[in-house]
């Protein structure tokens, strides 16, 4: 089981308290009905599914219940960092293996 640091609670808690909420930094169009089929597919279905560093959303379901973002290595499952929702994608990663 993973230990995940909630950036709001500022605590490492067991994975069971959290729900993964998919890839992060995918912006929903303000005019979703006006999206072309191609753009809607990219927004709704296409995922980067990286082997390596992933930026993803988690929700501290059984804690503060808030969404936040995490950077994780999908090969080792090691969390590199977590940060609050709304903060920009970190340009530089602390202690990244790659």
């Amino acid at each position: 089981m993973l230990l995940i640091r909630c950036p709001y609670c500022e605590e490492e808690r067991p994975e069971l308290e959290f729900r993964n909420a998919g890839e992060a930094h995918i912006a929903r169009s303000a005019n979703i009905a006006g999206e072309s089929d191609d753009d809607f597919e990219k927004f709704f279905f296409i995922r980067s599914n990286p082997k390596g560093i992933i930026y993803e959303r988690w929700r501290h379901m059984h804690g503060c219940a808030r969404f936040f973002n995490a950077v994780r290595d999908t090969v080792t499952d090691k969390f590199i960092m977590t940060y609050k929702a709304g903060e920009p994608k970190p340009a530089k990663l602390p202690g990244a293996s790659k």
């Binding site: 729900r19 993964n20 709704f44 995922r47």
Partner: protein, 417 residues
């Protein structure tokens, strides 16, 4: 290829078993092939086999980054069934089921296909409605599926607990008698042997590191850890790594890869005569011919390539198994493992041409690809050979996520996701 038979066994017994030949050869890769298949799992090897036998295309290489059948082919729970809800799914899974019947004879290799029956349990009114809907839909598609009372379910599988005191009592079951299990490794080995005998090159320890494309966009070959290998047609059958390979060709996929776990118990005498599945408590179980209980768990909730998974996932599954079969509460579990499954948004596979000329993909089988192995290879070989899909896999396009023509088994695949 020397045929296996009772006479071959007798002949070899006479001379100390020194005449058995390797089941497939391991040649050096050539500079160029007509077709390259990326991934020597069951689906990839079956594709190569049917390219050779059905379409006469034998100048084929199957490239495998590690050892043959060492990915999900060697990691699944070997369940075979075709009781899917939608016509498209019923078509492809039942095509596979028909090929399972007779596959050992076709390959001259005992894949130990055992149609011992797959029984899916209902625990509440909603389950009854869903499973009965499946029974009716399957029958309309000519697929056997029947409704059992709890008593009939217990008669079919005696260790099952049908007590009304259970936390989730069994209130009925759907039974597909043609469903069952097969020996997963033998499927890969049998297809490999059959393909190799017809001239297909199976190249292990050869990881694809890039996909080369001509200025017009068409595929010209693949870069590998053993150098460049040319081919005008490349079929990607890389399961959990499909999106990694497709990214090398510049195609972003509607896929996410998750660890899926399974485990086996210590071997015991025959006790579970069929496959039992429950979506509501989420567990499935059968017994291998070695006597181990083979138990399938769920996926982890996050994207990962770690080929492992959280222990709490296994605990959850064993809770459910003990609920269904209190007789097993003191069984010891021997081993557990994880495989990486590639899941599409609609939980149906993609077997199709891609936007890149000469590049084909067979992926997205998610948590249940083993059962489809022969059918998947058969229609994918057709797609590659003719550059046009077989009518059975025509609906499983890559662009259905743009057009919206989904095959939305997500809630209907007869398993919980």
């Amino acid at each position: 290829m020397k045929k296996y038979s009772v006479f071959a066994i007798a002949r070899e017994a006479m001379r100390g078993h020194k005449g058995w030949e390797a089941q497939w050869s391991s040649p050096e890769p050539k500079k160029e092939y007509d077709v390259i298949i990326v991934g020597a799992g069951g689906h990839g090897l079956a594709t190569a086999y049917y390219l050779a036998t059905v379409h006469g295309i034998t100048n084929v290489a199957v490239l495998e980054k590690s050892w043959l059948g060492g990915g999900n082919t060697g990691r699944n729970t070997t369940i075979i069934r075709s009781n899917y809800l939608y016509d498209e799914s019923a078509g492809i899974y039942d095509h596979a089921l028909k090929l399972w019947d007779g596959l050992s004879q076709e390959l001259n290799y005992n894949v130990m296909y055992s149609p011992r029956g797959v029984m899916m349990l209902a625990h509440n009114v909603h389950d009854i409605q869903v499973l009965k809907r499946h029974v009716h839909a399957n029958r309309l598609n000519g697929i056997d599926n029947e409704w059992l009372t709890p008593e009939a379910a217990k008669e079919f599988c005696p260790p099952l607990n049908i007590s009304r005191d259970a936390r989730y009592p069994v209130v009925g079951a759907a039974l597909q008698r043609r469903g069952g299990t097969a020996r997963h490794d033998a499927v890969a080995w049998g297809y490999a042997r059959g393909a190799s005998a017809r001239g297909v090159h199976i190249i292990q320890n050869c990881e694809v590191t890039g996909v080369k494309r001509a200025p017009n966009g068409a595929v010209t070959g693949v870069e590998t850890t053993r150098g460049f290998i040319g081919a005008k047609k490349v079929g990607v059958v890389a399961a959990g790594h499909s999106s990694v390979i497709m990214n090398m060709a510049g195609v972003r996929m509607p896929l996410e890869s998750y660890p899926l776990q399974a485990l086996v118990s210590e071997p015991v005498k025959p006790v579970v005569p069929c496959v039992v599945m429950s979506n509501t408590v989420h567990a499935y179980i059968s017994q291998s011919d070695k006597g181990e209980l083979v138990i399938g768990a769920g996926t982890d909730q996050y994207v990962s390539y770690s080929q492992t998974g959280g222990l709490h996932i296994l605990q959850h599954t064993l809770d459910a198994i003990c609920e269904m079969f209190p007789i097993f509460t003191r069984m010891k579990m021997l081993r557990s493992w994880g495989g990486i499954v590639d899941v599409t948004p609609d939980r149906s596979p993609i077997l199709a041409k891609t936007p890149v000329p000469g590049l084909y993909v067979n992926c997205g089988w998610g948590t249940g690809g083993f059962k489809a192995t022969p059918g998947s290879g058969h229609v994918f070989a057709h797609t590659i050979a003719r550059d046009d899909p077989h009518p059975i896999n025509a609906p499983f396009t890559i662009d259905r996520f743009r057009t919206g023509r989904l095959i939305d088994e997500a809630a209907a695949a007869a398993v919980a996701h």
